[in-house]
Symmetry: C2
C-alpha cells in the first residue's frame, strides 16, 4: 500500500500497495472530490441508461465491498510490516519478517483469486453495465474485475516466492548500501530479473516483455509509448541541459556544512503541514530510502532520510513524499477500502509529488515565505546567506549519482537512464554483473552530460541497483501478484 | 505476542502474545538452555520407554510445526500492528487498525480451531505418549493439544468482537488518560466485563469465574490459590509496610527536577544492554504504558514512558521490560514459532522482570557501578548528590497512585488491591461506575496505608481502569481467543 514514487518506489516486502489500486483510476473525480457526498448510481450524470440497482444487486455490491475491505485490511497489515522493516525493525527481525510478509501476501492473493469473488463479479456484470460508465459503482465493478482477472493468472506459490525475495533483497540492500557492496546485491538482482521474466509470462501474449508491467502501473501505457514519451522529453531536455552546462555552475556551498538533523526534520515536517499534510492522519519517520505509505484513509505516512552535512536533501524528499501523501489523504473517504480509494496511477502520483517538491518547493515565492523560518532554524549557517543565493543554490542543476537526491532537471535523466538499463536487463541484453560498468559508461555520455561525479563510482552499487527499482518499467507491477519483485527493484 | 507484565500488561489489540504460548511450559529447560543443541527425542533423558519416532510421526510433527509457524507469524503480524498502535500510529489510524487487528485475530483463531489441526494432534497422540514426558516434542504435542482444545470452545465471532473491543478500548484509554476521564472509559470497562463473563462461560463448569482466566496465564493456579498466596504475602508484608511507615520517609528530592528525556532513555537503554539485552534483536520506544513485545526470536522490543521531571520512572520501567525481553531473547532458537518458544508463564515472566528491576536495579552494588554514569548524564542535577542519598531515594517506600511507578514494596499492594477489585467487578459485587470510589476507599485503609496521595484522586481514572488491566486474575486470558479482552483490561 506504499505508493511507489520518485523517492518511494521501494518497499521492504512489496506489501506496499493495495493490490487493487494500480490503474484503478477513479472515474468519478467529481464524486471523489466531495467527501461525504454519496451520489446514488441511478440517474447520476443524467445517463438515460441508468436504472435503479435492484436490491439484490445492491446486496451483491455490499458483499463485494466486504471482500474488498478484507483484502485492503490485509494488504494494509502487510504495509505496516513493511513500514516497520524500513524504519524501526532491528536487523535480527529480517528473516521472520520476510516470512510474515510472504504469508500475508499469500492470504491477500487467495482472497483476490477466490472463485467466489469471480462469481460475485459475474453477478454484478449486468448491473455495472447499466450504470453510467464513470460512476463509482461501475468503476468499482470493472476495476475489481480487471484486478481479479490479473490475479488469477498468477499462482499462489509465485506470490509467496516473490514476497520472500522482496523481503530478503531489501534486507540485503540495506546491509549492502553503507558499504557500496554491489557484489552482495548482484545475486538478488539476478533472482529478481528471473522472477520478473517468469511473472510476465503469466500475461503472454504481449507485444513487449515490459508491457504487462507498465500497464499495471499506468494502465494503457506500453514500452513503446513510454519510449516515445521519453524520446520527446529527451529532445526537449537535451538543449536545456546543454545550455545549463555551458554556464558557470551555481554556487551551492551554502547548503553544505553542519545542519543538525532534528531541526532539519522539524522544518521539513512544518512545511509539509503548511502544504496541508494532516498529522492527525500521518507522520514522518526516517528510513534509508524515502517513501510514502498508506494503512488507511486515517493513516498515510511519509519517510525521509537526513544528511547531517547538507540541508535540502531531507527537505525535498519530505516535500516529495508529502505530495504523495496529500494526494492519498485527499481521496474521498467513501472510496476507502476499495480499489478506487487510491491515487489514479503511478504517473498521476508522481505528478503530485513532483508538483509540491519542485514547482512549489523550489520556487521563489515559496521561499520568500519559508526562508526566514529556515534561517531561524539554522541562524549560524544561513543567517548571512541572502534569499537569492539560497534560491539559486537549491535550483542548481548538476549530475549526481543518487536519483532521489537529483535536481529537477537531471532527475528526468535518471529516470530515462534507468528505464534504458532496466529494459536491457529484462530483455537480457545486459547482464546484472555488467550493470555497474554500463551505469558508469552511460552517465558519461548522456545529453548534456559532463563526466559522472567522482562520487558516482562509490555510490554506484546503490544507484545501479536502484536503477532497477525506479523506472516506470520494471518497477511496474500490481501489488498482490508481484509486489515483492517491484519492491525489491525499487 | 506482547508479554503482559507489571508494566507491559496492556496491548492495544491484544494480539500481543502467541496464542499457544500461555502455559506452554518448556518442559526441557535443559534443552532450551542450549541454543543450537537439538537432542533427538529417542533415548533422550535415558527413558527406557522412548522409541524412535516412525517416519510418519516425524512427518506429522513437521506438518504440525508448519501450522504452528503460520499461526505464530500471523500472531506476530498482529503484534506489530499492536506495537505500532501503542508507539507511533497517528490517532486517525485507530478505526482501521481495530478492524485490521480483528481480522488477523480471526485468521489466527481459524487456524487454531481447524479440524485438520485436531486430526494431526490425534495422529500424534500415541507418538507423544511414547516420548519422555518432558521432551520438547512431547510437550509440543501436549501443549498444542491443550491450546487447541481451549480454542475450539470459543466461537470465531466472539474472537472478532473481543479483538475489536480491545482496539477501541485502548484507543479510548489513550485519549482518556491525559484528562483523567474515567467517564469516557466506563462504557468500555462495562463492555469488557460483560465480554469477560461471556468468555468464561465457554469453559464452564468451573469452580470460580476467574479460574479459567487465571489458568491461561499461570496453568494450575486458581482464584483460591491466588487468594491464599496473596493472604500469606499480605501477612508478611503488612508489618514491613507498617514499620516503614513509622520511620521518617526517605528524601527523594534528588530524583525530581528537570531531567532531559533523551539522556534518560539513553541511560536506561545502556543499562539494559549491559544486562545483556541485544539491540540487534530488539529496540526501545516510547509509549503511554510500557510493555515488551516479541515478533520473532530476532525481534523482541521494549517500550517505556519518560517523565521530564523525574529521573527513575523511565529507567525502572525500562529495566523491568528489559527483564521480560532478556527472558524471551534467551529462549532456545529451535523452539521459535512453536507454543514452547515463549516464557513459561505470566508468573515466571514477572519474576524475571522484577528481578532485573528490583533485585538488581535497586541494589547498592549495581549503583556503585552505574551511578557515576548517571551522574555524568545529569551532572547539574546529580553531581553533588552522594551515592548513598541516591540509593536511599530510589528505595523509598511510598504509596503512589500509579502501579507501574510504584516502589518495590507497595507494588505488591497494588497487585493485591487490583486483584480484589477485579474479583468484585467480575463477580458483580462492584459496579464499574463505583470503581473510582472503591479505589479511593481502599487506598486509604490498606495495611500500613497512609491516606492516598492527593494526586491519587486526579490519577484515579487511569489507575482505576488500570486496576482492571493488571492483575493475574481478569487479565489472564489466552491470546488467540480472548486477547482483546485481556489487552483491554491490561
Amino acid at each position: 500500500m506504499t505508493r511507489r514514487s520518485k523517492r518511494s518506489s521501494r518497499s521492504p516486502d512489496g506489501a506496499e500497495r493495495n493490490p487493487e489500486s494500480e490503474g484503478g483510476i477513479p472515474a468519478s473525480v467529481e464524486g471523489a472530490a466531495r467527501p461525504g457526498l454519496r451520489i446514488a448510481p441511478s440517474g447520476r450524470r443524467g445517463s438515460t441508461k441508468a436504472r435503479k440497482g435492484s436490491p439484490s444487486a445492491e446486496a451483491t455490491l455490499g458483499e463485494l465491498r466486504g471482500r474488498l475491505l478484507e483484502i485492503s485490511d490485509l494488504s494494509a497489515s502487510a504495509a505496516v510490516l513493511a513500514w516497520d522493516q524500513a524504519t524501526y525493525m532491528p536487523v535480527g527481525g529480517a528473516e521472520a519478517r520476510g516470512r510474515q510478509c510472504s504469508l500475508i501476501s499469500r492470504l491477500v492473493h487467495e482472497r483476490m483469486t477466490d472463485p467466489g469473488l469471480g462469481r460475485l463479479l459475474d453477478r454484478l456484470m449486468a448491473y455495472g453495465e447499466s450504470l453510467p460508465h464513470d460512476s463509482d459503482e461501475a468503476r468499482l465493478i470493472s476495476v475489481t474485475r480487471r484486478d481479479f482477472e490479473r490475479a488469477v493468472k498468477v499462482p499462489a506459490t509465485f506470490v509467496e516466492r516473490a514476497s520472500a525475495l522482496g523481503s530478503s533483497s531489501y534486507d540485503a540492500w540495506r546491509r549492502a548500501r553503507p558499504n557500496n557492496d554491489f557484489a552482495a546485491m548482484r545475486p538478488y538482482l539476478e533472482k529478481i530479473l528471473d522472477l520478473r521474466r517468469d511473472y510476465v509470462e503469466f500475461f503472454a501474449p504481449y507485444q513487449h516483455v515490459l508491457d504487462p508491467l507498465i500497464d499495471e502501473m499506468d494502465e494503457g501505457m506500453t514500452c513503446a509509448s513510454v519510449q516515445s514519451l521519453f524520446g520527446e522529453l529527451r529532445r526537449e531536455l537535451s538543449p536545456i541541459v546543454r545550455s545549463i552546462g555551458d554556464q558557470a555552475p551555481a554556487d551551492d556551498s551554502c547548503l553544505h556544512g553542519a545542519f543538525a538533523e532534528g531541526p532539519q526534520l522539524e522544518f521539513g515536517l512544518g512545511v509539509a503541514r503548511a502544504f496541508g499534510y494532516d498529522l492527525e492522519r500521518g507522520r514522518l519517520d526516517r528510513t534509508p530510502h524515502p517513501f510514502c505509505t498508506k494503512f488507511s484513509a486515517g493513516d498515510v505516512r511519509i519517510t525521509t532520510r537526513v544528511y547531517p552535512g547538507e540541508v535540502t536533501q531531507a527537505l525535498f524528499s519530505t516535500l516529495h513524499e508529502a505530495g504523495h501523501a496529500l494526494y492519498e489523504q485527499g481521496v474521498a473517504p467513501e472510496l476507502a477500502g476499495t480499489p478506487l480509494g487510491w491515487g489514479a496511477s503511478a504517473g498521476v502520483h508522481e505528478s503530485q509529488s513532483r508538483l509540491w517538491e519542485n514547482v512549489v518547493g523550489r520556487s521563489l515565492g515559496f521561499w520568500r515565505h519559508f526562508y526566514p523560518k529556515l534561517r531561524a532554524a539554522f541562524p549560524d549557517r544561513l543567517g548571512k546567506v541572502p534569499l537569492k543565493t539560497f534560491h539559486r543554490a537549491i535550483n542548481k542543476v548538476e549530475r549526481s549519482p543518487i536519483r532521489t537526491d537529483a535536481d529537477e532537471v537531471t532527475y528526468n535523466l535518471h529516470i530515462m537512464l534507468r528505464f534504458d538499463l532496466e529494459l536491457e536487463l529484462i530483455e537480457g541484453r545486459l547482464a546484472a554483473k555488467d550493470l555497474p560498468e554500463a551505469w558508469r559508461r552511460r552517465t558519461c555520455r548522456r545529453p548534456g552530460g559532463h563526466a559522472a561525479n567522482p562520487t558516482s563510482a562509490s555510490a554506484l552499487p546503490t544507484t545501479a541497483t536502484a536503477a532497477c527499482r525506479t523506472c516506470i518499467g520494471i518497477r511496474a507491477a500490481s501489488a498482490a501478484r508481484s509486489r515483492a519483485i517491484r519492491s525489491a527493484m525499487c
